[in-house]
């Protein structure tokens, strides 16, 4: 049926009659064979139907106008949002927009950032990061590390209670630890905990863990992944309980309702050991599309979201925005890169990789793709953090140098087709990247355009994530990729650069092998002395910048926006949401006070 199918038409129609009849009733519409033509133009009753329809339309329009006024965008709202008394007050709600929906609210079982964002408010860890990136205590008041670095003893706070009133003790950590290393638990995070030789609970408020070898990332691994209420979960299969959708935590917020597909509503924990959070409710609203989310922001439906570079630069500079919102900007702990398959003959010569680096204008990429909201990257660390080495070799945009290096490496245009070739093969390769990320796609497009200018042809192929990982990355069937790494706050990057990590599904998928780097990686992991670690990581960056197994492209900035009525936001290197529970809205500006307690 060609005409009629909702709004997406199916191809190819059938004739107007006979009426297509799916299930075998052989009825045809006009039984009469000798149809005579009637002149129907004499039908004069023009008015009735049309007039009736018009009346209905008017009614609908009027209806809409009357009732529609409720939702006028708050353009004329609050000129003086910022000029009101600033006293901290309890109440109100923060509505955050999220593209993804949490899948499960148990940290160790979740793989997605949406789950971790919400679960992070419900569960605390033993330690956490401070704004200067040092490690401070959360559920642990203090800890001791033995001189050989193998034993950490945590001293836990007393009097912290789970939401059901039961006190939190070291047994809960032990339970969490045992669960995460349990074979049957479908978690992706047990690697760090497998390094533990022995865990003990000498008394209810002490937790001691012994490692086989010194392991620098050890301390920070004791975050919220292993804090679970033993009294509620012992003996049960954690993945099969309802706990993931109805968690009982001990953090700043507790889950009130979760409406799948729509929102997750959290309410503050009045008995939180560091003080009751000011904002009574945290609502995580699920809107899968950034454009829609932005429209909601403008209409007042959400208070907090991450802006895209374009939204940040071009759409939030009006008076309305500066009067009603606050924008923030800080580098993210992540970088985007182009990785080469080092087993591919084209990319085995370092000069070729360097030539490509000279042919790419990183500044252009940052300007066009990120609208300037980011920095070119020179290595696998974020600028201005302690492991970052500012003095490595860089590659500015220099087409001549690029061409010279390629010539040296044996690439010439021998057949005059505009493409470089060598030994009969033209220089053509494919960049793979994943779907759903327009920044990477655009980056690839720019690189394609630039490399065309030195005679290299690039094809871009965008793949769905799991296909990408499974069929191409894991099986090493790629030539070049554009991807990103989210780097933890601990600088250990053993899994990415060590030559032993090149088996299928491991993360050194480009096949990088450098014994010096291997040794430095070990060195960095096995000592707790920051200065020693720094030396190792600095040298690694020097080597990587010279050899260019990746072309490090950029470190993007995060650009969140929050409604102006929220006070207490303190931007720091680790972002703005670390102290979410200290944000507040002055009484006079609270919007959602009308919601029931």
């Amino acid at each position: 049926m060609q005409y009629f199918r909702g709004f997406i038409p199916i191809l190819i129609g059938v004739p107007r009659s006979p009426v297509p009849n799916t299930f075998g009733i052989g009825m045809r519409m006009n039984e009469n064979t000798a149809s005579t033509m009637i002149d129907i133009n004499f039908i004069n009753d023009t008015g009735a139907v049309a007039v009736r329809m018009r009346k209905i339309l008017y009614l609908i329009l009027v209806f809409l106008i009357i009732f529609g006024c409720r939702h006028k965008a708050p353009e004329n709202e609050k000129q003086g949002v910022k000029a009101v008394s600033d006293e901290p007050a309890y109440g109100d709600a923060l509505v955050a927009g999220s593209i993804g929906e949490p899948s499960i609210l148990i940290p160790m079982l979740a793989g997605d950032s949406a789950s971790h964002d919400v679960a992070g408010l419900i569960f605390n860890g033993l330690v956490k990061y401070d704004t200067d990136l040092s490690v401070i205590g959360d559920l642990a008041e203090s800890w001791d590390i033995s001189p050989d670095g193998l034993v950490i003893t945590f001293h836990l706070r007393k009097g912290v209670r789970w939401f059901d009133g039961v006190e939190f003790t070291a047994e809960d950590i032990m339970f969490g630890y045992k669960t995460i290393i349990n074979e049957k638990t479908p978690t992706a995070y047990q690697e760090d905990y497998l390094q533990v030789k022995k865990a003990e609970v000498p008394d209810p408020y002490t937790f001691r863990v012994t490692y086989r070898k010194p392991f620098a990332p050890a301390l920070t691994s004791w975050g919220n992944l292993v804090v679970l209420p033993k009294h509620l979960l012992e003996g049960k299969d954690i993945a099969k309980t309802d706990f993931g959708r109805n968690p009982v935590g001990l953090g700043r917020y507790k889950l009130r309702t979760w409406t799948p597909g729509q929102d997750v509503i959290l309410e503050s924990n009045r008995d939180y050991f560091q003080g009751r959070p000011y904002i009574d409710r945290y609502i995580y609203k699920i809107i899968p599309d950034p454009a829609t989310m932005f429209l909601e922001l403008k209409a007042g439906g959400i208070d907090y979201m991450g802006l895209t570079p374009i939204q940040y630069t071009k759409q939030t500079d009006t008076r309305y925005f500066s009067g009603n919102f606050q924008k923030f900007r800080y580098p993210v702990f992540a970088y985007t890169y182009m990785g080469f398959n080092l087993r591919h003959p084209f990319f085995q010569d370092k000069r070729v990789r360097q030539a490509i680096a000279y042919a790419i204008d990183k500044k252009e990429i940052v300007d066009v793709v990120l609208f300037g909201l980011g920095k070119p990257a020179t290595g696998p660390y974020v600028p201005d953090t302690w492991p970052y080495n500012p003095n490595v070799r860089t590659y500015g945009y220099d087409l001549e140098k690029a061409k010279a290096l390629l010539k040296e490496a044996g690439w010439k245009d021998t057949d005059g087709d505009g493409l470089l070739d060598k030994d009969g093969s033209p220089f053509v390769f494919t960049i793979l990247t994943n779907m759903g990320n327009s920044l990477r796609m655009n980056t690839a497009t720019i690189i394609q355009w630039r490399l065309a200018k030195i005679g290299i042809k690039v094809d871009i192929r965008v793949l769905e994530w799991s296909t990408f990982i499974n069929e191409f990355i894991d099986k090493r069937r790629f030539q070049a990729v554009i991807l990103g790494w989210s780097i933890g706050l601990d600088p250990d990057q053993y899994d990415i650069w060590h030559s032993g990590k090149t088996k299928e599904k491991e993360f050194n998928f480009i096949g990088y092998k450098n014994p010096e780097v291997d040794a430095l990686l070990e060195q960095g992991r096995r000592t707790f002395d920051t200065e020693e670690r720094k030396k190792a990581y600095f040298k690694i960056q020097e080597i990587l910048a010279e050899e260019l197994p990746y072309i490090f492209l950029y470190v993007p900035d995060a650009t969140p926006i929050v409604h102006a009525r929220f006070r207490g936001i303190k931007p720091s290197p680790i972002g703005i949401s670390y102290n979410l529970y200290r944000w507040y809205v002055p009484k006079a500006l609270q919007r959602h006070a009308a919601m029931e307690p």
């Binding site: 060609q2 199918r5 909702g6 709004f7 799916t22 009637i38 809409l64 209409a299 499974n470 009308a594």
Partner: protein
Amino acid sequence: MIPYLVKRLLEMIPTLLGITILSFLIIHLAPGKPTDVLTEMNPKITPEARERLEKYYGLDKPVYTQYGLWLKRIVKFDFGESFSTDRRPVIEKIWDTKQPLMERRLFITFVINALSMLLIFLIAIPIGVFSATHQGSFSDKVTTVTVFVGFATPGFWLALLLMMLFGIHLGWLPISGLKSMDYNTLSVFGKIWDRAEHLILPVFISSFGGLAGLSRFMRGSMLEVIRQDYITVARAKGLHENTVVYRHALRNALLPIITLLGLAVPGLIGGSVIFENIFGIPGMGQLFYMSVMTRDYPLVMGILTIGAFLTLLGNLLADIGYMLTDPRIRAK
């Protein structure tokens, strides 16, 4: 009539089986496994952990065994558990018995589609009749062109334009979701109105193409009927033109429309994928899109099968409707 009905129901079974086979085959066109999304690009995962996860999700059995097992469970409406990390039963994700009826995804999509069909019915039929009775006139030509334009308009484009117009510039209508933030504080009437507001744009977009199509078909159908001898007879009898058109012609012309409505169901369901995404409506279409993106096998198969089943149901109802209204069949 009853034996006919039974026969029709029995006929549906092989069709349903065929649908399940087709869906199952499609899923296995895919390279790769769904556990990849779960583990992401996390440097902390060892190969052993990954294998463990794969065993856990049961992906190591041969294809036909998987199908057989799956089929056995489908009969009980057990579509297995979703591959996403929440591991909820698929059927629960579509039709969550723990939630109030109005929040369940299938129900939401169903309501929107039902409303669309209603809207189409209410608007397209008068337009079609009008066009037929004024065939060749200027208004008919204008309507024709408008309808053609409507049919040629990509729904997602229209959705964006309307969203901008009514949602932002005029601020008349909300632009995402099914209810406002302060829904719980509203009065009963307030709640009804709130829901209605949120549904206006989605229902309109959903029904848009169908409006065009059905009005064309209605017009054609009316034209066919008007040419019939019995209409001439009615006129010759001296009946008032209105009676001729609305009593005699329309009733006959409506018959095939009923079948059409049944055939519209797959199109409406399919279309819901796009507008549910654009308007952030937590219905089955949005769930389907997400499940397709994350390669959530059981969920995809579950929704595909349910969608097909609903379509069959829609067709069956259409046939029943046809049967009831067409005296020629009733007499059989």
